[in-house]
């Protein structure tokens, strides 16, 4: 068995009475950063709880580092969770709170580890103020510090950036990316796709309790073959260029927008990419802009979720 950190779900389902929250989900997540995406109510939080052993699958298995996080408490020491709900904080300071978690994990130097974790998330360990007085963003960072204090090899973060300002977000995104490149298995859920794109390109998309897509989102885009790719082109000779591209069979539809903009639909993005420059040169058309319109994560997300 490889000792790379891994999280494996096999045929996992979870229902609450008649409500099926998660339905037959299987995936295998290794080191690096993987984003878990999905509309609200898709079952992401329930899935997270099962990954950390906080909930039991109604069916199927979850294995973290080869073991069942519910049965094997030792493996929970290798997991860090940032839950989405507002935790009820006692009147402890950040340092006390994180040290407490460190002690619960059996660390030998809880205070030092707590300080280090707090500094990593950009908080001052010496701040004596009690947590309930902290702003939402600060409480959020304390949660992340608490999840990291025991240096787990698997980190599960449910909406970790809520309430944070842009700088704080950027800092944490950098932190997660770094942890991923250090070989940790980081699973993050977020609704801000622009950020997710920055953290990494591996995604798991859940929709209506099921797994709708898995893998690198750029590759996923290529798989969306029943959807033509849309590309926006700005040129000084739109009609000539459009006509030539149509003749070359590089596009299936063309829309003219204003004096200089073309929106092209293509069934073969690769072919279009190879055709457009030579054709433009041939027709003496300047190319001011070539921009794919839905190849980003949001385009993929929309497609996957709306099927």
């Amino acid at each position: 068995m490889s000792d790379e950190p891994r999280v494996v779900a096999e045929g996992v389902s979870k229902w609450f009475g008649a409500l099926v929250a998660v339905s037959d989900v299987s995936f295998d997540v290794g080191p690096g950063v993987t984003a878990l995406l999905g509309p609200n109510g898709a079952g992401k939080s329930t899935m997270f709880r099962m990954l950390c052993g906080l909930a039991k699958p109604s069916k199927g298995t979850v294995r973290v580092l080869g073991r069942d996080p519910r049965a094997d408490l030792a493996v929970t020491r290798s997991i860090g969770l940032v839950p989405q709900q507002e935790s009820v904080f006692e009147r402890l300071s950040a340092r006390q709170f994180v040290s407490l978690t460190a002690k619960l994990h059996g660390l030998r130097e809880p205070a030092e580890n707590a300080e280090r974790a707090l500094e990593t998330v950009g908080l001052d360990p010496a701040d004596p103020r009690p947590l309930p007085t902290f702003s939402k963003g600060m409480r959020q960072r304390v949660k992340v510090a608490q999840a990291m204090v025991h240096d787990p090899s698997v980190l599960v973060l449910d909406e970790p950036l809520t309430g944070l300002d842009p700088r704080q977000r950027a800092d944490l995104v950098e932190l997660f990316t770094r942890l991923g490149s250090e070989g940790k298995c980081v699973i993050v859920s977020s609704h801000v796709l622009a950020e997710v794109e920055r953290i990494g390109s591996r995604v798991l998309v859940m929709s209506r309790g099921r797994l709708a897509a898995a893998g690198d989102f750029r590759e996923l885009r290529a798989l969306m073959d029943d959807r033509p790719m849309r590309v926006r082109v700005r040129t000084d000779r739109p009609h000539a260029l459009a006509g030539a591209l149509l003749e070359q069979r590089a596009v299936v539809a063309v829309r003219l927008d204003g004096d200089d903009v073309l929106e092209l639909d293509t069934a073969d993005a690769r072919a279009l990419a190879h055709t457009i420059a030579p054709v433009a040169r041939e027709r003496d058309a300047h190319l001011y802009e070539v921009r794919p319109l839905d190849a980003d994560l949001e385009g993929v997300f929309r497609y996957v979720v709306e099927r």
Partner: protein
């Protein structure tokens, strides 16, 4: 609606602040904030604790400033707070709405509380809820609603009484990606089609960039950058090029033609020199490469934000 540049002082601003100061004990929350906001949709950005919330509460007349001048919709909030607040719609950041009231009753009540006569309040509340896309759900208690629905209820309650200015605090908080797009489009519509002035306070720079005409960045209790979106982002123009492969070859060929090229991963960054577009087009064609992206590269709002206030 686009923002008017500062060089036209005759145009009436929605919010006009000069050297506004506010202290809480020894903490200085606002240290001489100067800004002109509106008309149109303005984004209010800043770190947590930078003074945004304090500024908004002073604009609403809920706290008094220690010094400086402030005009909101033509009035001073220190003396005409009530008048100002009757003309403002506000959607707070928190999702704490009275659980028992139906969305319909809630929006209607707030419209009435904003001085609309009973029948008018009922009609406008009804319309506002349709506009934000809440149909049958409007009769359900707010406590049973999802975050996405609550955000829309808040928005409806902010516009139902036809205010002159709408303040939205983190309107996309808790929404999933598709709901965010819908909400942003809705806000954009409200600001452009409906003609209401809007101030959006948000931590999501791409979203602000998407819908706002102008932006005000607050840091350390002062405004560090402000202006129309286009102006604020002005910077060295350039070109971003993405090709399928053989990036270095392309770079080399372009350099042979005398262009300055920087390779950034799978992308090339070029300066906005004369004839650069044609040079790229021809080089790509000559090498038989797949051209994926060719875009002007201005500064993003993120570049501006991270650079400001440091």
């Amino acid at each position: 609606m686009s923002a008017v540049p500062d060089s036209e002082p005759a145009f009436e601003r929605v919010i006009s602040a000069r050297d506004v100061t506010k202290r809480y004990g020894r903490t200085v929350a606002l240290a001489g904030l100067t800004a002109d906001i509106g008309p149109g949709i303005t984004g209010l950005l800043g770190s947590n604790g930078a003074g945004k919330t304090t500024f908004m509460s002073i604009v609403l007349g809920l706290r008094t400033r220690d010094a400086g001048e402030l005009t909101v919709l033509g009035h001073d909030p220190a003396t005409a707070g009530i008048e100002i607040r009757s003309r403002i719609g506000y959607a707070p950041e928190h999702h704490d709405l009275p659980a028992e009231l139906s969305a319909s009753d809630f929006v209607r009540h707030l419209a009435e509380m904003h001085l609309l006569p009973g029948r008018a309040a009922m009609q406008r509340a009804n319309e506002a809820l349709w506009l934000v896309g809440l149909g049958e759900e409007r009769f359900r208690p707010v406590g049973t609603m999802s975050t996405g629905q609550r955000q829309r209820v808040k928005l409806a309650s902010a516009i139902a009484h036809d205010p002159e200015l709408v303040l939205l605090d983190e309107p996309t908080d808790g929404l999933d990606p598709l709901q965010r797009t819908t909400m942003l489009d809705l806000i954009r519509r409200i600001g452009t089609e409906f003609g209401l002035h809007i101030v959006v306070s948000s931590h999501h720079l791409e979203e602000v960039e998407r819908i706002c005409d102008a932006v005000v960045i607050v840091e350390g209790g002062v405004v560090v950058r402000a202006g129309a979106m286009a102006d604020v982002r002005q910077g060295p123009e350039g070109l971003v090029v993405e090709v399928d492969d053989r990036v270095e070859e392309l770079a080399a060929l372009l350099r042979e033609h005398g262009l300055e090229v920087v390779v950034d991963g799978s992308r090339l960054l070029l300066g906005a020199d004369e004839g650069v577009h044609d040079a790229v087009r021809d080089a790509v064609a000559e090498l038989g490469l797949g051209l994926r992206r060719l875009e002007p590269r201005g500064r993003t709002l993120e570049d501006v934000y991270m650079g400001a206030g440091s």
